[in-house]
Symmetry: C2
Subunit: 349 residues, 2 copies
């Protein structure tokens, strides 16, 4: 199988290097090909998602993605900014279903700002829609009738877009504890009303799943108050962005959470990335936690490459490293990126 490695910006290359060491140690017979992406690609080629990188991603069996985001690109026009690389990959490859599981690793009770008993009860999956919403609607700057600058972005979902992510949500719930919570803002947004209507229609095919609906403001509150109540949360692109970052901190650190972006819940094509960003403030200092990236490799082996056994081994090795007390700065420790990688490799051996 061909794995595309897109390390990207900031801490992306550092954490990707550790993930690569883990893959090399497992020696699974893959081919690897690296591609430029994000600010790094812009600086080298003038575009954040060069055609060669897109072609590589399309050719590959799975994509390992580090992170994009580079403050030196903040004043570029939007189409040239690093973020367009990940948005472009998600859209071009129709990776509409983003799986973001959150669960506390034993030993990290102290890293969470939540009380240990609240944090340890967390075992949820956020399923975020990735191809629509206000992310991909028409957007721009215009001038109002009275001559004022105005920024605008159109939020929308059609029924087909909602149905496919709803199905992914019900299927995921079926494979877990049978509970699905759909999050929207139907009391204010028509996009959310359509979302809610279609989720309810889809529910007819899943009588075995306990479906609930929650407004996004309440969901943000409940994720702090009692996150243990959730099994699968399905939501749109924007609300999913916010809630999944919030949930990641509930389990201790965004540095521990991996994600998979799939084009269908049955498909094997996938992009795997940590949910953290490029963290320019600590880039190049060997401080980043590589666990989220290493755990992304495990998700890749399981979802795209049908290799559950090495996936389990990786997850157990990360658990063991954490269990031994190895802690990068985000977890309150002083171990380096490389030392965390070493600890995972030692546990793998």
């Amino acid at each position: 199988a061909l794995i595309a490695i897109l390390a990207g910006d900031g801490i992306g290359p550092e954490v990707t290097a550790e993930a690569r060491r883990v893959l090399d140690a497992l020696d699974l017979g893959f081919d690897f090909e690296e591609g430029l992406v994000g600010g790094a690609a812009y600086h080298a080629t003038g575009h954040p998602l060069p055609p060669e990188t897109l072609a590589l991603a399309k050719r590959a069996d799975a994509i390992l993605f580090g992170a994009v985001g580079d403050p030196s690109c903040d004043s570029l026009e939007r189409s040239l900014r690093p973020e367009q690389a990940i948005l472009g990959l998600r859209k071009e490859l129709s990776l509409f279903a983003n799986l973001r599981p959150a669960k506390l690793f034993p030993g990290l009770e102290d890293a969470s700002a939540l009380r240990p008993e609240v944090a340890s009860a967390i075992d949820l999956l956020i399923l975020r829609e990735l191809n629509g919403d206000v992310y991909f609607g028409e957007k721009g700057m215009r001038t109002t009738a009275s001559g004022l600058r105005e920024g605008y972005d159109i939020m929308s979902y059609n029924e087909a877009e909602v149905r496919r992510i709803a199905i992914a949500g019900f299927e995921a719930a079926r494979r877990r504890r049978g509970k699905l919570c759909s999050v929207d803002k139907a009391n204010v947004l028509e996009t959310s009303q359509l979302w809610r209507d279609v989720v309810i229609e889809t529910a007819a095919q899943y009588p075995d799943i306990a479906l609930t609906h929650m407004y996004v403001d309440n969901a943000a509150m409940q994720l702090v108050r009692n996150p243990g109540q959730f099994d699968v949360i399905v939501t749109g692109n924007l609300f999913g962005d916010i809630l999944s970052d919030q949930a990641s901190m509930c389990v201790g650190s965004i540095g521990m959470l991996a994600s998979a972006s799939l084009s269908d819940w049955r498909s094997t094509l996938g992009l795997y990335e940590p949910i953290h960003g490029s963290a320019p403030d600590i880039a190049g200092q060997g401080k980043a936690n590589p666990c989220a990236m290493i755990l992304s490799v495990a998700m890749m082996l399981r979802h795209s490459l049908d290799m559950p056994a090495p996936a389990d081994r990786i997850e157990a090795a990360v658990s063991a490293a954490i269990g031994k007390g190895v802690r990068t700065a985000d977890l309150g420790g002083t171990h380096s990126t490389r030392e965390m990688g070493d600890a995972v490799l030692a546990a793998l051996a």
Copy 2:
């Protein structure tokens, strides 16, 4: 002075009754006039914000607002739903600046899901824009070229809308600890880019304020990880809705937090409401926490009626009641709405 009392739906009337008892006990010589609003108004008059209620609100010196939201209205067309009452009042009265302070009451350390040391460090003000954003843009259902149902909502802000809330943010920060964090999603949204540009322009007038910018996903994370880092957060209508509910839970319960909606940071016209909703699941059972509503009275006395002394007395009385261990269900206790009201009144006396 004339106070408009709009109790609304669900637990609105119960908590408003306790706030009214507090006002009566203080005997400040106000006139009170009650108005129908929300689902209650719809059922009685066919409209969630009847013209008489709007006229009363415009005539009043300040508005005490309970809560709106009624599941029996969920299938009405949007313009008739209870939520339109509060959205309509905010818009008709140009109440664009929503102040949502969050601070832990001593004694409530155990009610927060956050570790006590994290929760007690919270002392922040969320300043939410209330008159624009995706809340008030054109919205509707349409059919796509291929015949699919599609919901859409236009998100937008113009420079004047951003500037006035930015000014309110800088002014608020100046009266507090001098730190302002502007929250947006400028890496994806043009509306956010305009927001960020205008906040930066406005900053030139406030060299004494330390301004930072944060993406909303990161802000949701930081509010869990280290909420003590924030002084004033200024953000748009939608992000403010989400983040303020989240912050409320960090300090123990949404049942403790009041809010003020003002038409200008210097103006005295204001609407005061708890940040919780109508909580139909517990309505009529005497379980609701009236503190947020009682604290809304304190905010009203301070901001609209220039009566800081009785405002302080109310806040001290709520503190004393909490300090005595009186706890409604949301705070993990068994005291009723009335018992909490009694405890506040006893402390006032």
